[in-house]
Symmetry: C2
Subunit: 214 residues, 2 copies
DNA sequence: CCGCTTGGATAGTCTCGCTATCCCAGGAAG
DNA sequence: CTTCCTGGGATAGCGAGACTATCCAAGCGG
């Protein structure tokens, strides 16, 4: 199909598709001559994934390119590919290590990982931007006066571990090896809006149950 | 304290504080004369909350103003204030109701709420932007070929309900009534980065356990 | 009383994610 | 063959968002 048809079927304007091609989010079409290129179903699939990452997942365009680059890199194993893709997602900036809230948060996060027995996470802690994001978020909550400690966080960690196990179970039953990493990234990015919405709905629901609609 | 000291103690530049004052995120200082205004601890607290919402929570400035407006509105009850604040947060745009993925997603979300017994959420479904966001996210996953249905989502809904219950329990033990809504909003916005980070760490951990670092 | 700070107003900057315009090379209709 | 239309690449522009830098006039302090 031509660019116009790709646009038609995806609902994305040709100008935007050209932009994604320029930015390297989509592989170029197969050139048939100097003025025409042909696109296939794979391009359409990829375009839908890109749109989902950017629009629903809120991932910046430059980041999406990086993430997809890791997903496509089939020279690596599943864990490394997934890890690299997750690490490429946007994260909190470097915290100020002199801030006592940051120091306390880091200590609590370390205790948390120990109590949960997440060995890989502990080993990777100094490098992992995900770990850093967690420290920053906990430090922020502590700075606002909420005394988040390891004991308080542990049940949430357990719950998220259950979520992760469930997702990997699902992944194993359904997808081919290459699809698995893509699915895992889609899970990481697109599943988060689902969890967030469920969390907010649950908050509203539980608040209404306890206090009624005063 | 003066603006300069407020800036000093919060780590936010005077230019930015002035910007927040202009945008109505911070109440103006108490004017002592034509060229000087005095700020107190309450301003500092509020400024820290604003920074946390914007920087860690990623909430747009205009949205933060709206959210805080609802939090401050003590003419309303807890549930309504919390609900209004949650509804003011950024959400997915109106989905295209002709899209079969959207229709299917809506049906599955409705089944999900029924099976979870979330009555308030069901009643508010036509109005709630949170409900709409959930439909959009599920529709996106379905469009990418993942067959998310009510049965698949129910355990996650249960988990998020557990999270919400735990948060409200915590809220009840600690905060005064006015603080409760602020804490609930802080929980909604700032707890999400914590959950997200825990989720991603759990994914990495579980992937490493199952497949090793290939 | 004179410079320095304070706070308010205004305009500028930088990044993002597109979007509109130009241009040229085919391919098709006349 | 020529003319006109379309597809695709390159470039520049736009509009929102979050600051940021510059001015300016009114005090206060030595």
């Amino acid at each position: 199909m031509r660019l116009a048809e790709l646009s038609e079927r995806s609902g994305v304007s040709t100008a935007t598709i050209k932009y994604y091609l320029r930015e390297g989010l989509l592989p170029p079409g197969h050139r048939v001559n100097a003025t025409t290129a042909e696109y296939d179903e794979e391009h359409l699939r990829r375009l839908r994934l890109v749109r989902a990452l950017i629009q629903v997942g809120g991932v910046p365009v430059a980041t999406a390119r990086e993430v997809l680059g890791h997903v496509d890199d089939d020279s690596l194993g599943r864990t490394v590919r997934l890890g690299a893709a997750l690490w490429a997602l946007p994260h909190a900036p470097e915290p100020d290590e002199d801030d006592p809230a940051v120091v306390a948060a880091r200590a609590e996060v370390d205790r948390l990982l120990e109590s949960l027995g997440w060995e890989t996470a502990r080993e990777l802690a100094p490098l992992s931007p995900v770990h850093r994001s967690l420290v920053v978020a906990v430090a922020t909550l502590r700075r606002l006066g909420h005394l988040w400690d390891a004991e308080l966080m542990a049940p949430y960690g357990e719950l998220m571990h259950q979520v992760a196990r469930r997702q990997l179970d699902f992944m194993e039953t359904h997808a081919s090896p290459t699809e698995q990493v893509e699915l895992a990234v889609a899970s990481a990015v697109l599943f988060e809006p689902v969890l967030r919405a469920l969390h907010r709905l649950a908050q509203e629901e539980e608040s209404a149950r306890r206090y009624g609609i005063e």
